[in-house]
Symmetry: C2
Subunit: 222 residues, 2 copies
């Protein structure tokens, strides 16, 4: 049930993995077609050219994050819970699509987000906006410290897992696991740590004591 019988989807899947792994310029259409098990020329039947294929790959990947995120985050009501849910979303999404962090980062540094500008604008209006709102709501309730700028704080919240995903080989070396990167278990535990770290930073020092973090047994990453 995991075979993609139709050629268009097969091309999209293969292109996504290759673009993520080697970047847009270094990925050849011959490699994409070969990985999809079809002929080079067929690519030009389904897509206008290499750029058009790339654009479609990006739309699918960002679109998936936004759709899934909006679904997941609507549930959380308490600000602390919402921050945890946000980081859990990052961790789960990248656990399920392990190459997408690279796809996203490459688009940022290769093209300055040129091809993903539309998707990022949507992301700004949905997930990022929602995280900022949650922080501001926590500040208004006296749960979170009021002296933090919500947008900067939101970036700090997101940065931990995002950077961990990108810098895996370096982190692997730093923690003694080698350039293959940390284990799946370590990766999951880092997400828990990141949530706690962010909440320690966000909490007002005179706030009512938070209930202990629920130890989520769910393990979602690779």
């Amino acid at each position: 049930m995991d075979a993609a019988p139709d050629s268009r989807t097969g091309l999209l899947d293969a292109a996504e993995v290759l673009f993520a792994g080697r970047g847009f310029r270094s990925t050849t259409i011959k490699a994409i077609a070969a990985a999809a098990g079809v002929n080079t020329a067929l690519l030009y039947y389904y897509f206008p050219d290499k750029q058009g294929l790339y654009r479609t790959v990006l739309e699918r990947a960002f679109g998936g994050l936004i759709t899934e995120g909006e679904g997941r985050l609507a549930a959380a009501s308490d600000p602390e819970e919402a921050v945890r849910a946000f980081i859990a979303l990052q961790s789960a999404y990248f656990g399920r699509h392990p190459h997408r962090p690279h796809l996203f980062v490459r688009e940022l540094i290769d093209h300055g987000a040129e091809y993903a500008a539309g998707q990022l604008t949507r992301l700004a209006a949905t997930l990022f906006r929602r995280l900022c709102d949650v922080i501001e709501r926590g500040q208004a309730a006296g749960q979170f410290r009021a002296d933090l700028d919500a947008r900067r704080a939101a970036i700090s919240v997101v940065s931990q897992v995002a950077w961990m995903q990108v810098a895996r080989p370096a982190i692997g070396i730093f923690i003694g696991a080698g350039p293959g990167g940390p284990s799946a278990r370590w990766t999951d535990e880092f997400a828990d740590h990141a949530a706690e770290f962010a909440l320690f930073a966000l909490r007002a020092t005179d706030a009512p004591p938070p209930r202990p973090a629920p130890r989520r047994p769910v393990r979602t990453s690779r």
Copy 2:
């Protein structure tokens, strides 16, 4: 005083900028030679091949970070001061070498740190080690919360500015500045924010009240 009269250095400088901007595979030796104002064949006089040139570029860039970092960090004695100094180092170094974040990230995602493994091992034994030690010292002194794993905490500390440098186009869109990324002023202020955010997270809740953060007027980034 900014001309690089000798061809070897000119090639290294040009290669660094191009490798950072487009990646190893997408950077052509013809482009490097042209940017350095010399002939393609001369590259093979000074370096064995494209890979050898790349390796040398990485060694110079990582080596600079380590050398500069060890110098700067030896000064700070107080753990809080040391954490601030660490983030200030990141900000200053990347402010002075604005393309190196991309160079580093590309090496991580393009080659899994294969070419930089040696430099990263040095980094692990110097700067990263030093940051972990500082956190542990703060924990032993009761200044920092003891329930954090020092290595994970160190990664959280580093991640904020690192991610901000990499995700500039996305952050620009998120904060309404557009895909060109945040302004130099915003970038500098984010480093201050990141230091405070990290210290809020690190501080033991029953610790003696920290002195107010010194507002560093020094502006070091682009």
